[in-house]
Symmetry: C2
Amino acid sequence: MTTETSRPATDASADAAADPELACPISPVVDIVFSRWTSPILWSLHAFGRQRFVELERRIENITPKVLTQRLRQLERDGLVVRTYHPEVPPRVEYEISELGRTLSPLFAQIAEWGAANLEHVERARRQYDGPRA
Amino acid sequence: MTTETSRPATDASADAAADPELACPISPVVDIVFSRWTSPILWSLHAFGRQRFVELERRIENITPKVLTQRLRQLERDGLVVRTYHPEVPPRVEYEISELGRTLSPLFAQIAEWGAANLEHVERARRQYDGPRA
DNA sequence: CAGTATCCCAGATGATACTG
DNA sequence: CAGTATCATCTGGGATACTG
């Protein structure tokens, strides 16, 4: 993923032939924003604002502290989340969406919208694909 | 993908729909549309139109036929892709985006746009995060 | 061509226990 | 509280070989 050729969104076939990695301009974004657990984390931060570690841990059910930490670190490294450590007793750490992370809002909104409008279609397609058999 | 959870015996479906606290509305969509390999596949189909198995296989480098088949089946089952089998010799199978799949276009466009605008910021954030090697 | 069938391993996850 | 450390597990994916 070191390739950073600025590609014109046009003439896709030429690009793909030259560099298959660039055939899909959305993959890099997906890897960053929609990797495992990141959606619920970002959404939670986006929807409920600044939160402490435990709050996130409780809000996102079934996530272990280890994994939550991993994901949070990744998000922090990617600049989507800001971590603030308060040296108190007991310690307090707060996470919040960064400026950059906030730019994802319209994207999230559109995805939620698509889901609201089409998730049922997907369900129906699945049932049909799986056949009349129960 | 399904975060299988033994929910408390409360009304789970109502929770998910009405109470964002307990469910991330975008996760279901992400699981369907942005699971592994699906982005490049959908993008390829979206960008280059109807294609045969081999074409996809070549276009999306580093994907094995096994995995490509799996993903294609999943996409077909979810109603995002249409598979057409031509009983010829040699056999010919063509894949194309479905009507439902096409509704993802604006989403894809927005994601690509976000990437074009912000991927650099992410890179920079990473370097800065990794940088202070001390 | 368009897949299947196997074998296998790495890396992601989960469970549990332990600190500053 | 906010993690880390460790160990066991498990599934996806890769490599390879084989058909209709």
